[in-house]
């Protein structure tokens, strides 16, 4: 049985210096997202209780648990929409405090279960992306503090759609004109528009038909790895986590029960509850 409060391997004793920018390479053991002894309390009750985990850039951690496990609350704490009652959340070694700067907010992006609810129905996809790109002050060394010119923004928006596998003519269309899977891809493009370092995907395929589930997962995994993001994939569906994750964390009643590399977790789950979860999933005969 995994010690619930054990720190993940390689956790540094002191915070490292923050890398110079998104392109800067992290040290051999540092960088990415670190959740250290994080707790969240509602009405005096700890719904997340001293959870520690780390996600290195370019890797995907799958967080599983049943309803009431605290997994979604932990996600909300990581994106900064819920305050911590204890512990800390660090990005590349620096503390993401209670009040986050706009740069810190941009750095941690959330993709939710229902893409329709998170997209403004009155704006075209192009307008949604353009608003984000216009807000964004370029942080590159060549144009510090500058803004993108309009044509550059249009090109960037088309590039973002291409990244998630949507045609550029989607820019002129409204969210309702897309299927559920396509809307989720748009939500991913929107999250990536602000050049985040952490992507939190909370049940991103749970309301989608199985035929499009795979596409959305492949986009999240491919871009998360390719863009060197620390990706947290939250799912109640263990087969989703199995498909794309490098590590697996299991929560129950606010407590982290197990944190293990995916290969070991799915073959030899360390906690009896992890095993119960894995064994309860109905399998297709002959698969």
């Amino acid at each position: 049985m995994t010690e619930p409060t054990a720190r993940p391997d390689g956790y540094p004793g002191s915070p490292p210096a923050r890398p110079a920018g998104p392109g800067a390479s992290a040290g051999p053991t540092l960088g990415g997202l670190e959740v250290v002894e994080a707790s969240v309390a509602f009405a005096g009750h700890r719904v997340v209780d001293r959870v520690s985990l780390a996600i290195r850039p370019g890797t995907i951690l799958g967080l599983v648990g049943e309803s009431g496990s605290g997994k979604t609350t932990l996600a909300r704490a990581i994106v900064g929409s819920v305050a911590l009652a204890g512990g800390s959340i660090r990005l590349d070694g620096s503390d993401l405090g209670r009040r986050r700067s706009s740069a810190e907010r941009r750095a941690v992006q959330l993709v939710q279960q229902d893409p329709f609810a998170s997209l403004n129905p009155l704006l075209t996809v192009g307008q949604v992306l353009d608003d984000l790109l216009r807000e964004e002050r370029l942080t590159s060394a060549t144009e510090p503090g500058g803004r993108r010119p309009r044509l550059a923004r249009q090109q960037r928006a088309a590039d973002l759609l291409a990244l998630v596998g949507l045609p550029s003519d989607a820019l002129g269309r409204y969210p309702r004109e897309f299927s559920g899977g396509q809307r989720q891809l748009i939500a991913i493009a929107r999250a990536l528009a602000v050049q985040p370092r952490v992507l939190v995907a909370d049940e991103p395929t749970s309301s989608l038909d199985v035929s499009v589930q795979r596409t959305v997962l492949d986009v999240i995994a491919g871009l998360g790895r390719g863009m060197h993001l620390a990706t947290l994939l939250i799912s109640h569906d263990l087969s989703v986590v199995h498909a794309v994750c490098d590590e697996v964390a299991v929560m129950r009643d606010g407590v982290l029960l197990e944190l293990a590399p995916a290969g070991r977790f799915f073959r030899h789950p360390g906690h009896p509850y992890s095993r119960a979860l894995l064994e309860a999933v109905p399998r297709l005969p002959g698969r």
Binding site: S67, V210, S211, Q213, H268, V281, P282, P285
Partner: protein, 250 residues
Amino acid sequence: MNTLGSLVVDDLRVSADVELVHGVSLTVAPGEAVGIVGESGSGKSLTLRAVMGLLPRGVHRSGGRVQVDGTAAMIFQDPLSFLDPLARVGRQVAEVCAAAGRTSPRAARVRALELLESVRLPDAADLARRYPHQLSGGQRQRVLLALALAQEPDLLLCDEPTTALDVTVQREVLDLLAQLRAERRLSILFVSHDLAVVTQVCERVVVLRGGRVVETGAALDVVTSPASDYTRSLVDAVLPLPVPAGGGDD
């Protein structure tokens, strides 16, 4: 020959402004469990609701024949939308018992408790005094099952009954369904988007797409050697999950 619990659906058509279900035919033999699988928009839920006569407002049966031999009852994905939020669950079950059996209120209350116990709700007497919002999702689905059983059904219609449940609770409810089916010789028509769940519950499967039957056959045959490209694509889209080593069975 006893045909109680059998169902014949013949050339069923369901329409709103346009036709949504285009001539679906299927049968359920007495005691048989048949699954309807399909993606969103396949017409699987509309087909089930048409059998029960519970189509949404603005949607109607526009053709075909539905013949149930015996009594049909239905359970849904979301029990909260079906349960009265202002009534204790014991009373809700008792009311259905009274209506179905035309018994005295006292006999109905006793029967309601029996039913809550028969769906393996622990401490049923205590639970009967609670309101729906005070129950967990799994407990509510069991209460819904008790309500369905109170109608003494021969055919149980199930519309994604475990889709909103946690996986360990889903397992319990599916096991319960199998036990009840054996005890009561229920026929079952089970709608789900989840092929694995359907093959666990049902002997036969009907695959729907766009309001039409694509394929029908023994559940094991349909998932291991699908006859249609569409069914194959559905099977292939199911993400594999290995069984952990060293389980209790080996």
